[in-house]
């Protein structure tokens, strides 16, 4: 349920990225909104790395289809970013506007480099060009980062609260399970 909702958010953000942002004043670059979804599921302790990597795969593949890139380029890069984000989250708690923006910026730069490398492997005629666009895209992603990460955190929190209310939350479920197995009623 949570994964589906997150994928729906990713879908909306990708459609937004591919249409509305073309009218933005900075024409040649747009924030990588799909990447921010992957970054969130990667750094969030609420997400198991397996679910996070599935979300990363689906979001990346969707971006491949939406952007006309060879299928698998963004999917592979997003999974790698997800793993990077998980590794980072064990050392740094990504909280607050400044840190969220900084991590979004770095992740976007890293994703751009990886996309260029994978693209060069798949379509060698493209070469390694395109790095000039990366800083501007990373900057815009850094600006959008705190907002998108905040939105996803809020959605996750709301979902968690709802699940807890109806007794489906992780804590509630384990408590219920414990109660059912306990001989003391």
């Amino acid at each position: 349920m949570r994964s589906l909702l997150t994928l729906l958010v990713a879908y909306i953000l990708l459609v937004l990225q591919s249409t509305v942002l073309e009218l933005a004043p900075v024409r040649m670059a747009a924030p990588s909104l799909g990447l921010l979804v992957v970054l969130y599921v990667g750094v969030s302790a609420k997400w198991a790395i397996s679910s996070a990597s599935i979300v990363a795969l689906c979001t990346g593949y969707l971006l491949d289809l939406v952007s006309g890139a060879p299928q698998g380029v963004h999917a592979l890069v997003f999974i790698l970013i997800c793993i990077f984000a998980r590794a980072l989250s064990t050392r740094v708690a990504v909280q607050g506007i400044v840190l969220s923006a900084a991590v979004s910026f770095v992740a976007s730069l890293l994703a751009s480099v990886l996309v260029i490398i994978v693209r060069a492997r798949v379509t060698p005629e493209g070469g390694y060009g395109g790095l000039k666009d990366a800083p501007l895209e990373a900057l815009l992603t850094g600006v959008a980062g705190p907002f998108v990460l905040g939105l996803l955190r809020r959605i996750d929190g709301k979902l968690e609260a709802t699940r807890a209310r109806v007794g489906l939350g992780r804590g509630a479920r384990s408590r219920n399970a414990g109660r059912a197995q306990s001989p003391w009623r």
Binding site: L14, G60, D64, G72, Y128, D133
Partner: protein
Amino acid sequence: MILPNGKRLREGAVVGVTLLLSLIALRMSAKDPGELSTLDRGILGVVAPAQAAMSTVARAIANVAGRYAELTHVRAENDRLRSENSRLRAELMETKRVAAESGRYQRLLGLRDTTPAETLAARVISIDASPYFRVARVEIDRGEGLVKRGMPVLTPEGVVGRINRVAGGSSDILLAVDPRSSIDVFIPRTGGRGVLRGKAGENGYHSTIEYLVRGEQAREGDLVVTSGLGGTFPRDLAVGKVSRVTPNPSGLYQEVEVAPDVDFARLSEVLVVVAPPPTPDPDAGSPARRPPPLPGHGPSIYR
């Protein structure tokens, strides 16, 4: 978070499987770049209408915002003359916008009438969703089943690119400025022929002519048109103008940059050539390199 060994193994296995799936997708797309699976078609079938709707809403909002921005600088005192002036200006802007839009459609219709090929009009619903791939997505009314991979795409200004992927009523255009695109072109002034390829890593829309044999030197401003070789693009379609010639006295080929005639950043409507123009009749005397423009119609793309 410390996980028990079994769970850690399971988590690792799922991550490994996702990595493997992405690598398989990469390998398959490298083998046949334009091929879409049923799943891909299904996903794009869901995405394209949303993109089209969002694009329409965005353009409407941009129009309203533009008019609002034009009006907000009018002072709050509501001076009658000032408000009258702004109202007239807003009307003028709207009229200009409508006139420009109508002009665009007229030029497109003119091109359609003067192009001796069967064409379909298409509306651009997204462009450059990723900055590393120069691809535009178009929505084609009644184009389902007619549009095929490799078909040329034009505007009144010149060549836009070719169809790369088709999914129902929407298609991806590989723009002529994408490094994966290659179009056989020639420079009519010098007769030099080469392959036009998009320039990777440019912070704009540029392309270069590769394998342009040295001979008569190309000059800045030289017209570049399609050669018709390769069979995809008809002959003599405008592509752009030579924007830079890098001297390379020792090389076999000339190094030439081309600025496209098409403004890719402002692409909104295009024509897809679904059937090539008829080949000229060799018995009909002097070969007509291009059809004469019909009276009262727009400019021809054929140069």
